[in-house]
Symmetry: C2
Subunit: 197 residues, 2 copies
C-alpha cells in the first residue's frame, strides 16, 4: 500500500514489494494471483473503509447541513486514520471514469466514489428543496466540495505539518457553507470567526 501510494502501480516491482514485505518474490504469489490482484485487493479494502466512515454521516436523520458538516469532518478522520491508504485511494480515484480500462481500478473503488458523490448530491438537493441551501447544480456542488477537500488533504499530506489540517478543513467548510447557505450568518457548523487571522 505504501509503495503503490508513493510510486504508482507501474513504478513498483514485485521484487520490491517482496523485499519490503520480507518475503521471497515467489511467496507473494501464494497470497495473490498477480500484481494486479494484489493491487485490487488493497484498493477494495481502502474503498470499503472510506465508505464505512463517510456514508453514515450522509445517511443519518440529521438535517442536511449537519450531514454535510459531518461528512467534511469525517474526511479528516479517515485521512488521519490511515494517510497512506487514503493517499493511494484518492490518487487512484482522481480520474475514475475516463481511465477505466486504461489504468487499474477496482469495481469497488469506483462504486464507492460514485456512491458518495450520489449521496452528496441527494443531501444537497434535499437541502435545496427545504430552502436551507441555494440552488446550484448539485453535481457541481458535490464535485467541488469533494475536489476541494482532496486538494487540501493532499497538500497537508505533502507537508510534514499535519496539524494544520483541521484549520484548513474548517476554512473549506466555512467557505463552502457561505457559498451554499441561504443564511450564512445563522450557522451552527464551521462557526468560528475567520477575520481574526
Amino acid at each position: 500500500m505504501r509503495l503503490f501510494s508513493e510510486k504508482g502501480f507501474h513504478n513498483v516491482s514485485m521484487q520490491e514489494i517482496a523485499a519490503e514485505a520480507e518475503f521471497a518474490t515467489g511467496t507473494i504469489y501464494s497470497f495473490f494471483d498477480s500484481k494486479e490482484a494484489l493491487y485490487l485487493e488493497i484498493m477494495n479494502e481502502v474503498a470499503d473503509n472510506v465508505l464505512s466512515v463517510g456514508q453514515p454521516f450522509l445517511d443519518g436523520q440529521a438535517d442536511e447541513r449537519e450531514k454535510l458538516a459531518g461528512f467534511i469532518r469525517a474526511s479528516v478522520r479517515v485521512f488521519r486514520e490511515n494517510s497512506a491508504a487514503i493517499r493511494l485511494f484518492l490518487r487512484a480515484n482522481q480520474r475514475p471514469v475516463s481511465q477505466i480500462g486504461t489504468t487499474r481500478f477496482s469495481k469497488t473503488a469506483i462504486k464507492v466514489h460514485d456512491t458518495l458523490q450520489a449521496r452528496l448530491r441527494q443531501v444537497y438537493a434535499a437541502g435545496v428543496r427545504k430552502g436551507t441551501f441555494r440552488a446550484f447544480d448539485p453535481r457541481v456542488v458535490a464535485l467541488a466540495l469533494d475536489a476541494a477537500l482532496r486538494a487540501i488533504i493532499f497538500s497537508v499530506a505533502e507537508d510534514t505539518d499535519e496539524t494544520a489540517l483541521e484549520q484548513k478543513v474548517t476554512d473549506i467548510e466555512e467557505l463552502f457553507f457561505r457559498g451554499i447557505l441561504h443564511d450564512p450568518w445563522n450557522r451552527a457548523a464551521g462557526s468560528r470567526a475567520a477575520a481574526d487571522r
Copy 2:
C-alpha cells in the same frame, strides 16, 4: 499528447505513438532522444500555454475580484482551445510535489503550477487587505478554487456534453465569490441569479 492524456505514460508504447503519428518507430527517435524526452517536450509546451493564458488575468491592473473572475473564465477558454492538452496537463499536475522523482514531470510544468498558485494567493491576499474578501488562509482558497475548477472541467471533458461547461463554471464562480466576498450581493461578476434553475 492525445495518447498520453488518455492512457498515461506507462500505458502508451512507442510503437503505438509511431503508428498513430504515421511514422516508423525509429523515426520518432530522430525527433526525440527517448520516450521520456518526447513526453517532457509535450508537457513543457502545454505548461507554457496554460501560463500564457491564465497569468495575464491575474497580473493586470483590474481589481482583485475582476482578476479572479477573469482567471476562472480563462480556465474555460484554455480548456476549449485544446482539451486534450489541458487534460494531460491537469492530470499530470494533480500531484506535483510528492510525485517528483517517481513519475515524470517537467520542471516547466511544476513551475507553471506553482506560479499560478502563488499569483492566486497574492491576488486573494490583496483583496483581503483591501477589505473586498473575507480572511481565509490564502493557500486554502487558492487550492480549493483550482481543485474545484479542475473537477468540473474534468467531469465535463468526460461527458460528451461540453455545452454544460459554461453553466457549471458559472456555478463555481458564484459559489466561490459568495464564499469569499464580504458583500456577495453587490456583484458585477458571476451575477445571473441561481434560484431560477
